[in-house]
Symmetry: C2
Subunit: 126 residues, 2 copies
């Protein structure tokens, strides 16, 4: 039972938080996401669920493995320190569940390809 | 002479700004970017060059067309208002140059695919 948790910063602007929730739903709907029992969104601050609550939702749903994906562009304090700290607390609470943090969005080499796709085919956007 | 300007928020953490500059260089090195005479980075605040200065660099390099790409995850105030305002000032200054803003990063449907690639092949990251 592998679950994917998309972690965003969270915004006072609820529309931005909804964008992230819709993104999680869109990912869940992709054929390649079938190996995940669920794809959920969680937020570092300003929106719900929090990271611990998001992890707990996965645990309650029977997760044995949880991939935490930082939906962040750069490796600032949030990616380097805040997210790992919150994840570590839940990992300690559930030592038998494998909770790991994946590379953050901005770290992917393929972001460059994606940008070229966007500026070439702007119609392929939400 | 088409130029691409990658516009990021800008950070007090210079390493984050350098990540964006390296991203612009990486894009410039891709075969599909050959239709752009240059790919540069610019910043809304906290880092140089500013958006007007970045556009000016393109103009000075002979641009007839400038694509401004918002390297942002959500359509907050910066994407909806601040970037368009700064671009409009330069567009007014150079009415014969086509300066247009492309969809922002987070708007692309394919971000979902990219995220699945990252969580599947974490080794494919910088």
């Amino acid at each position: 039972m592998k679950h994917l948790l998309i972690v965003a910063h969270g915004s006072r602007r609820e529309a931005s938080n909804d964008e992230v929730r819709r993104l999680a739903e869109r990912i869940a709907g992709l054929p390649e996401a079938s190996r995940f029992s669920s794809v959920r969104a969680a937020f570092l601050e300003l929106a719900a669920p929090s990271i611990p609550d998001g992890i707990q939702q996965c645990v309650d749903a029977g997760a044995t493995q949880i991939a935490v994906f930082p939906y962040f562009l750069s490796a600032g304090r949030h990616v380097v320190s805040d997210i790992p700290t919150e994840v570590a607390v839940k990992q300690q609470e559930y030592p038998d569940i494998d909770i790991h943090i994946t590379p953050w969005l901005g770290s992917a080499d393929t972001v460059a390809d994606l940008i070229l796709q966007i500026v070439k085919h702007p119609e392929h956007t939400a």
